[in-house]
Symmetry: C2
Subunit: 343 residues, 2 copies
């Protein structure tokens, strides 16, 4: 029921995803208003036999606060989808709905894999000069200590390997800082750097990166706290919209440029598609796969989110992340034991 | 001597600035290698009588660390220019050189106007859908408490009014956050919000803004800590370069799009100029005007930095900022006195 458009987009997205999910043995549970969903399912005969409809009248609106959604959301389509993941009736939940509600209810029902995570981390993937770079956290954890930043690195790396990486691709992880020198940066960032370098975590750590390394594609995964990551993400989204608006204005400024734009329209359309953000991103750190699809996205964008969820659920993400989390716990214990500090 | 090109750009920049500074009674002190400077001055007969050359052999390189520059920089062109501001021989210093050295030596020689500022704040101005937005701090102060964020607001507002504002333009100040609701955000951001709303500071406070409000031009000044601001700035710079590279590639992808690009070249050139960042930004919070020019900029970019310095030096910036700093001090004392807390 989620997103700006509801079943016409989510059901059509599932139909589109069928082709992209050829390698997966996929079934869909559709939670929400049965009549609205059935009406859409009727338009997609290939999807129909793979889908079950789970009726509920209750929907969490986009405006509802997370705390309200927690109190009053039981039995809603969002809640029921997450319950299905909890009870292992489903391998993943995908929602285009209220992000705050999704984060809060996911955390309540599925619980975090680690006590030190305040909330599930949000990860988004950007197109870059070289391919794709995933950035986390982009908004859930406002303040992050060193251990949390390393947890983001572990989860981000495992996510990228499971979902974005081409076969054999190296997945390097960079830590966001405001300079590449070791002595620079916030304390927690320097501590996380030391842990990632020497803590025995099994991942390809690149070192510090800066904001412009996102678009450069210097590394595959960039780790930062949720405040900085959210500001960077929204700054980038705002700039992308600004560029497109400015380009449109430039190309319609004179008869000559309009002819130019007409001749170049195929190239410009491809450029637009290339700059489009991916259809969604997972909530990492939960006991279960949950993907947030863009609320304003079209059906093909919702299909992207379904693909991410299916790839993540079918991968060794959870096992790999858990093994590294264990290494982190060992690394965190070691210096304390050595220095005799009892935390 | 600073920047990637030295006197050929800085001297030519001064010559260009002459036209833009028609309203100012301007004179230039040129610090550095006299022979190199004189050779350039010879090319600009209108500039020559307005310039004095202050010779030194010593130059701080772009690679030198700030601490080294502090120890060994005395007598360098950068140091001498800042000494001239300290001794009031000059109203402003402009450098295209080593930013770390400029920040450190400025702080040593000119001192901060307020004890609570760790370092001078860096402010940059972005083109937006509506005009220009200035963002600070973009890199000097890694962690900022509420009082520091309010100081940034005070300095940023006074800067914008002095340098960027058109006559009669309202200068609104927004506080960077990751949501517009009052209960959201980091503690220091929420405290700064309360101070700006109810602390009696004399400026037009808008409230919380998010990353995409930079490009939207929602407000004229956006305040954030130096870590977040630096990441946002560099993310934006990286995206702008990415966008231009992608556009170039799209426009040369086929014969048709190449003809299109040829016809639209005037419009595309205008777009490029519009997206170009301004030539520099001041270091705020010092007892004196210091402007950092972009090291890689051309002469017209260096002229922009000179214009900023001249406008700032000729304005009531310092008086206005000092009055608001006093109001902030009063506001900070008030709740403590009321609650009986002694710092």
């Amino acid at each position: 029921m989620g997103g700006d458009h509801g079943p016409p987009v989510t059901v059509a997205g599932a139909a589109i995803a069928l082709d992209r999910l050829a390698g997966h043995d996929i079934k869909f549970q559709l939670h929400g208003d049965a009549a609205a969903i059935e009406a859409e399912l009727g338009k997609h005969p290939r999807l129909r036999p793979l889908a079950t409809v789970h009726h509920t009248d209750k929907v969490i609106s986009g405006e509802e606060k997370a705390a309200q959604a927690l109190r009053r959301g039981k039995g809603s389509s969002l809640w029921n989808a997450l319950e299905a993941v909890k009870s292992r009736d489903a391998d993943a939940a995908i929602s285009g709905g209220n992000t705050g509600a999704l984060v809060a209810i996911s955390k309540l029902l599925l619980r975090m894999t680690s006590d030190s995570l305040e909330r599930p981390a949000l990860i988004t993937t950007w197109p870059t000069q070289r391919g794709f770079t995933s950035v986390l956290d982009v908004g859930a954890n406002l303040v992050s200590d060193a251990a949390q930043l390393v947890e983001f690195a572990i989860m981000g790396e495992a996510f990228y390997a499971a979902v974005n990486a081409t076969p054999g691709q190296t997945v390097r992880v960079g830590l966001m800082n405001i300079g590449s020198e070791e002595q620079k940066g916030r304390d927690e960032v320097k501590e996380a750097h030391a842990l990632l370098k020497d803590g025995g975590i099994d991942l390809d750590y690149y070192g510090f990166v800066e904001g412009d390394d996102i678009a450069k594609g210097t590394v595959e995964v960039i780790v930062t706290d949720g405040f900085t990551g959210n500001v960077a993400l929204k700054t980038g989204e705002g700039l992308a919209r600004f560029f497109v608006a400015e380009l449109r204005q430039a190309m319609t400024a004179s008869p000559l440029s309009m002819i130019g734009a007409f001749l170049a329209q195929g190239a410009l359309r491809k450029l637009g598609a290339r700059l489009e953000p991916p259809g969604g991103g997972p909530l990492l750190g939960l006991n279960g796969v949950v993907v947030k699809a863009h609320g304003g996205g079209a059906a093909h964008s919702f299909a992207d989110a379904l693909k991410i969820a299916a790839d993540l659920a079918a991968s060794d993400y959870a096992v790999k992340a858990a093994a590294n989390m264990q290494r982190l716990a060992t690394a965190l214990d070691a210096p304390r034991a050595a220095s005799g500090t009892t935390q």
